[in-house]
């Protein structure tokens, strides 16, 4: 049996807004290289490094392969371009008079490229894609040196020369980022594990008879519940302290010593963090009318021992289901704008009336539980209880009428 949380899982587990927002790099640089070509081949005319945004290297294709190389002549980036020597210019004339003709390819000339500069860049090579022949390799280190003389504190160049860290961000924002992510992660995990994780329902069985606890535990675990065992009222309260291990339901024996079930129930209901846990009283005899009056509001059901497995399961299922139903009804009524006091009164009476009716049934079948002197007094006590139940029932019915648009009478 699993806890159900129909609510949408709004877990922003790791919403990391990384520092890497889309922003242009303040120190972005380009290498501009001019080449000349002639009968002897291609040679470098000039190279310079300057601040700027590079073009896209991946748009062009062609018969030349370009490569940006590091100090070891290892490629950092490769690109393609058309061979300016073979195709200097294409000329297009008027299609109506004569086919376009191009200017004859000049045997000499110049062309240039603009490529992104990174601190690792040392050379730029152009290669004939078809033959693999390197046509030219431009050494940009002199250009880098010239740039460094002008901008000696540029972080990229400092990083290369080992004189400083390359644009390391301030430690404070980094620490904040790390702390924030950690906090979010921990909270998300905690919330999930505590409130959203589908886990079996947990039942705390409290009885000073170990055999009873063992049997009930076995029966419930067979049904898919997780059980906690307590053999006294004190132990029960001790087990209820860790809030992350809180049970979803308590089976509480009445006759225990030194702290009986009623006293334990009083302690449980005194604590705000525990009062909402449904409690089913395990009793071998019926409670007295006085006990029913006093504690009727605090318990969710009575289970009279001995009880069969099916009766046990049925009682627990009914109580859990009733709780969910009442919870949904409260939500519906609240959303519909009904007064909070009225809705709360309805929720209280809804449970109380059902519990009292069951109690009445137990009293009728076990009149010996009533510590009255004479049978007439016993009958009078039962009648009193019945009248109280009747009064509450009438109040509940009046409330149901008012809440009828959103709440349907229980079947």
């Amino acid at each position: 049996m699993a806890i159900k949380h129909p609510a949408v899982l709004v877990l922003l587990l790791l919403i990391v807004c990384p520092a890497a927002l889309a922003q242009a790099d303040a120190y972005q640089k380009v290498a501009i290289v001019t080449f000349s070509y002639g009968p002897a081949g291609i040679s470098t005319v000039s190279s310079e490094i300057q601040y700027g945004v590079p073009p896209h290297l991946d748009i062009q294709s062609g018969t030349l392969s370009g490569a940006l190389l590091d100090a070891g002549h290892n490629p950092i980036t490769t690109f393609s371009m058309q061979d300016p020597r073979a195709l200097m210019e294409t000329g297009d004339g008027s299609g109506t008079s004569a086919p376009g003709t191009g200017s004859p390819a000049s045997p000499t000339g110049e062309f240039g490229i603009t490529v992104p500069y990174t601190p690792a860049l040392k050379y730029i090579s152009l290669t004939d894609s078809a033959t693999g022949t390197t046509l030219v390799t431009a050494d940009v280190t002199p250009a880098v040196a010239a740039f460094s003389r002008l901008y000696p504190n540029d972080p990229d160049l400092l990083a290369v020369s080992g004189q400083g860290a390359a644009r390391t961000p301030s430690p404070v924002p980094v620490a904040m980022l790390a702390t924030g992510i950690l906090l979010m992660g921990i909270c998300a995990c905690a919330y999930y594990l505590l409130y959203l994780h589908l886990r079996p329902e947990r039942v705390l069985i409290v009885d000073d008879e170990k055999e009873v606890v063992d049997v009930f535990s076995l029966l419930l675990e067979k049904k898919g519940y997780t059980t906690l065992r307590a053999y006294s009222g004190e132990e029960c309260l001790r087990l209820l302290k860790p809030w992350w291990k809180r049970p979803d339901l308590i089976l509480l024996d009445v006759k225990m010593y030194p702290m009986d079930g009623w006293e334990t129930l009083e302690e449980i209901k005194r604590k705000p963090s525990l009062k909402k846990i449904p409690v089913l009283m395990l009793t071998g005899t019926a409670p007295t009318p006085a006990q029913a009056r006093k504690f009727g509001l605090c318990i969710d059901d009575y289970i009279v021992k001995p009880v069969s497995a099916q009766e046990l399961y049925g009682s627990i299922d009914y109580v859990m289901k009733r709780r969910e139903t009442i919870k949904m009804e409260i939500q519906a009524a609240t959303l519909a704008g009904y007064e909070k006091e009225m809705v709360c009164e309805y929720a209280r009476l809804r449970r109380r009336v059902e519990v009292d009716k069951k109690l009445l049934g137990i009293l009728h079948t076990d009149r010996a539980a009533i510590p009255a002197a004479t049978p007439e007094e016993r009958t009078r006590e039962i009648d009193n209880v019945q009248r109280e139940i009747q009064s509450r029932q009438e109040t509940l019915e009046q409330l149901l009428v008012k809440l009828s648009p959103v709440i349907h009478p229980p079947s």
Binding site: M88, N153, S273
Partner: protein
């Protein structure tokens, strides 16, 4: 119904509160790391923006030299010898009018130092006796670098001019878009007289040039859905993959008729480093081009990355489609003539053999019978060892008419898809 303290609910609230605290920490730290100039002295300020003026003095002299601050006559060095805690006040002004420019990011010797205040000034302690480099960057202005002399103190005024790169349509960051820049030509051509015409600028000035550029864009880039094959749909929102600019500073012009594709001053490339295609736009071509010695109407120069450019007349957008096909998509002419042919894989529009063309056609479920040799019989017999597929009228054949067929379209889509958004 009285409610006591609901510990369970309290625990939930505590967990949620701590989670929200963590989220706030993450967001704040992310902002601090992304925009470090919020915290002075942190990591660098926003990027160098389009239109940056060349910042380095290249030994080759291809860029504008770094300006010596002393040349501006505004540096007042403090005596001789070392000065304890010398202070330098940097003022940034608009070159036209002299108004102070606030919010200029200043980099001292290459490292971000801060931004100018509302009155355009920034004061710093001089880092040492050596000369320093001050780089001034602000969006909308040309970046400028000045170099002071040694032992500088006093005041330096850096006059910034507005960026000559005028954004026309910006659909995304420079780094992620295909950046097309238009440059005005101060020349035109009269084919009847085989004479270049010096225009002394672009007729009609900046307003006319901008209008011509806008019309050109509308009739070329925006017309792709009408001239491409439906078999290869353009990427959704393809228009958003482009940024369009034009260059205007009243002094820098391309010469559309200095060589086939014209010429562009070198400093333009220093200022526009991110151009994926530069288009020299000239007003109109007079007469009819009948071949050499006349200069052609349109032409593309295939430099390397960042320096590809072409020339076209503003009033011939169909030819513009063809030239852009060369410059941006590596499409090859499919007419027969003295032009360049190559099979630019992948997705070429011209193949080196009939078999290659047919194989490609079959692979794409085209009719291989559409493959034909590039050849013509008039005005004179011509044939080339290349094959084409796209049916006529093909823009890459006629230049003044037609559309892009399957092969050309597939290539266009391929290039557009290489630019992710």
């Amino acid at each position: 119904m009285k409610r006591g303290i609901d510990t369970d609910r309290m625990h939930r609230r505590v967990i949620i509160a701590l989670f929200c605290l963590g989220l706030v920490l993450v967001l704040v730290s992310a902002i601090l790391l992304a925009f470090p100039d919020v915290v002075p002295g942190n990591a660098p300020a926003p990027a160098t923006l389009p239109g940056s003026y060349p910042a380095s003095g290249s030994e080759s002299g291809t860029g504008q030299p770094v300006v010596s601050a002393s040349a501006t006559g505004t540096v007042q060095p403090v005596g001789q010898g070392p000065v304890s805690n010398p202070v330098l006040a940097i003022r940034t002004t608009d070159i036209s009018g002299g108004a102070a420019i606030p919010g200029v990011s200043l980099y001292i010797n290459g490292l971000f130092a801060g931004t100018t205040s509302e009155n355009g000034t920034f004061v710093l302690s001089v880092p040492g006796p050596d000369a320093i480099t001050i780089r001034a960057v602000k969006e909308g202005y040309q970046e400028r670098t000045v170099q002071t002399g040694a032992n500088v103190a006093g005041e330096v005024t850096i006059a910034l001019s507005h960026s000559p790169v005028i954004p026309l349509e910006i659909n995304g960051p420079v780094q992620s878009e295909i950046n097309i820049v238009f440059l005005p030509s101060n020349t035109s051509y009269n084919a009847t007289e085989n004479q270049k015409i010096e225009l002394g600028g672009y007729p009609g000035g900046q307003p006319q040039f901008e209008a011509d550029v806008r019309r050109f864009i509308a009739n070329t880039f925006n017309e792709y859905p009408n001239v491409t094959s439906a078999a290869y749909p353009l990427p959704a929102g393809y228009g958003k993959k482009f940024n369009f600019y034009y260059f205007w500073d009243n002094a820098t012009y391309g010469d559309a008729f200095d060589g086939c594709a014209g010429s562009i001053p070198q400093h333009y490339w220093n200022q526009v480093t991110y151009s994926d295609l530069t288009i020299i736009l000239y007003p109109t071509y007079y007469g009819h081009y009948l071949g050499p010695p006349s200069q052609p109407i349109g032409c593309t120069k295939l430099n390397g990355a960042g320096m590809v450019y072409l020339k076209v007349p503003a009033d011939s957008t169909s030819l513009g489609m063809l030239e852009i096909g060369h410059g941006l998509y590596d499409l090859v002419d499919t007419f027969c003539g003295d032009t360049y042919y190559a099979q630019f894989d992948p997705n070429p529009n011209v193949w080196t053999s009939l078999a290659a063309c047919q194989q490609n056609a079959l692979a794409n479920s085209w009719n291989p019978a559409g493959c034909r040799q590039i050849a013509s019989s008039s005005p004179s017999a011509c044939s080339r060892n290349f094959w084409r597929y796209d049916p006529d009228p093909d823009i890459m054949h006629d230049g003044y008419d037609g559309s892009f067929g399957n092969a050309s379209t597939k290539r266009i889509v391929y290039v557009l898809n290489r630019i992710s958004q």
